[in-house]
Symmetry: C2
Subunit: 203 residues, 2 copies
Amino acid sequence: MSEIDAVIDLMRRRYACHAFRPGVAIAEEDLQAVLEAGRLAPSSFGLEPWRFLVVRNPARLPELQDACFGQPQAVTCSALVVILASVADMDPDSATLRTRLAREHADDFAAGLAAYRQFHAATDTRAWANAQCMLAAMQMMLAATACGVDSCALGGFDENRIGALLGIDLKCEAVALLLALGRCAQGPGDKRRVPLAQLTEYR
Amino acid sequence: MSEIDAVIDLMRRRYACHAFRPGVAIAEEDLQAVLEAGRLAPSSFGLEPWRFLVVRNPARLPELQDACFGQPQAVTCSALVVILASVADMDPDSATLRTRLAREHADDFAAGLAAYRQFHAATDTRAWANAQCMLAAMQMMLAATACGVDSCALGGFDENRIGALLGIDLKCEAVALLLALGRCAQGPGDKRRVPLAQLTEYR
């Protein structure tokens, strides 16, 4: 199979698991591969505005399920990766921002910082960093499928409750997405998508 | 190589191309594979809040480059995929929304619509749909790499100018991201990332 056929096949096999088999441990190497895939994602200015909080202690899951409006995936999963969007660290005057920007702009740091400062002033940092986190999340879901681990992205949650439960300072970070990982209790359903001809236009 | 090793390898090989070799055509089958990867991306409620506008006519590129603050990728690329976030179509009363929601909620459409209506009322639809588009964009970038096509995501642009140039009604759709595709004039640089230990925390 060509590489692109293998990649499209992987994308077809990934599906959102709606209930996992509880009590199935996720292998450490699979979890690490999923996190590495997130780490390798691209980001604007190469800033990696994310952090991954991994909840593996099953005793923590029921309260997190509550904060996810009762969604069963949040309590039946083997691990819940909370993807946090960096907000305060993306301030043009933060040390983190300057370190990361300097990596990409070794030769022209002042120009890079000036351009970033202009971008930052014109941007809703919270919404922008949240959107960037989807790039990491997508890579994580694909890596999970490649490991034989099922996943479900959970976008519906009470951010304040998640923040309180996990001790996240929501002035500094936003909860972008929760990624539940485990072994699915059901198989995949049919993948329904709008036909490409309806989605695309050429100029 | 195991599937996960192949996937991580693919993710390591993807890089942001900063200048393409002009005049290199992208093969039709590669372009279609990239678009298919976008189409296969997951989305909240399975709503696919995106559309792909493909600019292949090189005569259109200089004005688009202008709207991208002069970024060379926008004019040297072989194709520019404009990823549009659906805003108006995500209204709970739109026909598109209802058709797509009915696919996922064949048996409990009323309950699905009520839940969606609540979500929609509490959500900045534009920011949400924009973020969803990043899932499609990430799959497209990976598919491009698997085809041997180089890519660069362009997040810096004047949305109003892009809208005017391409005839996009920005009340109905938002410009989420531009994805430049082609053959890179340079090779990849070093992939710099924050070490995983600094990005992750366990609970």
